[in-house]
Amino acid sequence: MSDLKELTELTLASARDGLRNKDFTAVELTEAHITAVEEARVLNCFVKETPDKALEMAKASDERIAKGEARDLDGLPIGMKDLFCTDGIETTAGSHILEGFVPQYESTVSQNLWNDGAVLLGKLNLDEFAMGSSNETSFFGNVINPWRRAGDDTPLVPGGSSGGSSSSVAARIALAATGTDTGGSIRQPAAFTGIVGMKPTYGRCSRWGVVAFASSLDQAGPMARTVRDVAIMLKSMASFDPKDSTSVDCAVPDYEKALTGDIKGLKIGIPKEYRVDGMPTEIEKLWQQGIEWLHAAGAKTVDVSLPHTKYALPAYYIVAPAEASSNLARYDGVKFGLREEGDDIQAMYENTRGSGFGAEVKRRVLIGTYVLSAGYYDAYYLKAQQVRTCIAENFRKVFTECDAILTPTTPSAAFGAGEKDNDPLSMYLNDVFTVTGNLAGLPGISIPSGLSSEGLPLGLQVLGKPFDEEQVLRIAGVIEDAAGFDARPQNWWSAK
């Protein structure tokens, strides 16, 4: 291959096919990406680059490919959100408190990917403990969106919390990346960067070895530039894991085969409650456009009602912080990570956690501690879990009327860094369309479907029935084809 640069332009699927055809080697493909990673450091996508490890893995892939023993993802360089614990490689969750932590184990999801031959480019930046929607809470600095508004150099956020993942895939420095989605942390950044991101059904991908944020909501999923690439990644990431009590023992299908393009006769629900006040007309128009694409492909749309939608976000901001306040109690300076000494054990705890956690994490841990505390549990936590039952029930009922649901992914396009710094609430509203899928445990995908008036990508979301990722992917594939989204960020970041 003469021009390595072109290798980063490939999709995951075409790179896979090229490797099998021996058009280029895994080492060449990996070197091209390592160079791209190095040139894109201004985006701050990676907390840790692992080029040596990548080349070593690529060499092993080349050997297998040469012997005709190629595995599903052999030789394909990807990025790993730094929430997945990687054996012998520092894992930080974007937090000062975990700086220097070197896991002695490998998460199930990342192990699945390595077993299939994928190549690790490095650990991707993220909001601290995955708490954020703009990747501005990472201890290791903001991630920058490769996209810019037309005629405007203002740095934009890549969405969050999987901001390093979205940015790296959009900037074509990784073929694909892993993400995790607790309230929208895969789908929202995918929408902000013009890529595809999927949150599978809760229980589809193992949570073992993934640093926990909110255990009942966290779910790992793939991010890539096409629906097909996402399907390929998901097949590898998903598995039943006996080490995770919430992992569901359900066969993992070949998702790529689900992409038939045939959605004739499917009924797609259009939930009226998602037409929120003050929704920009361009989002409204995009949604309408999506409905028309589905009609054109032979699907029907039906108006459905999810009456508790309005309460999803407030319920989420009780449940998720409550779980987080408990999940993050283990960061106490004793077993791993940061330790700030103090006069006694309590001072040591308070100093360690006071300087180890950033502002957003502290805010959420305090909210979570408060809503679980004596006298407030029923009013907040119990109430939120009851509302959650209502939300799940809404979906159960609606899915007797339709096969899947179409909504916008976000209420806006990417915004500027620092724009929502002083207003946690308006930041939280980013997740208004995605969070319902987490509360009900449903699979959801964001597909880049158009551009805003400022020339920024916008996404449509498809939500499906539990463990019906195939249907969700099939519909997403149809939208992808119809949208023909081929816009891409202009490369302003490469340090040549």
Binding site: A329, V334, I345, G354, L366, A392
Partner: protein, 95 residues
């Protein structure tokens, strides 16, 4: 319900997070904004609605009683900032 500075101080101690005195005021304001916002849940009639315990419609899987793990004290303590003779070491605790 809203919280005052003393409550935030108490909660911060419960969560073992050192908060500087000057951080209390803004933190109190932020928490109150969030709490006021989540309280819109009060509008929902949840009488007789069971709280969700899991979105997964399954019951707890059980494993066999076999010793399959452990035996690697070095791996367990490797990341500890203060170790002593195979133990984790912390400032002395008075019982």
């Amino acid at each position: 319900m809203s919280v005052d500075k003393d409550t935030v101080r108490r909660i911060a101690h419960l969560a073992r997070i050192a908060i500087k005195e000057e951080e209390l005021e803004p933190m109190t304001g932020e928490l109150n904004t969030i709490l006021a916002w989540v309280e819109q849940l009060d509008e929902v009639d949840t009488d007789g609605v069971p709280p969700m315990t899991s979105v997964v419609e399954a019951t707890l899987r059980q494993r066999a009683d076999e010793v399959t793990d452990g035996g690697y004290a070095d791996r367990v303590t490797k990341n500890a900032s203060n170790r002593n003779d195979g133990f984790f070491a912390v400032p002395k605790v008075m019982e």
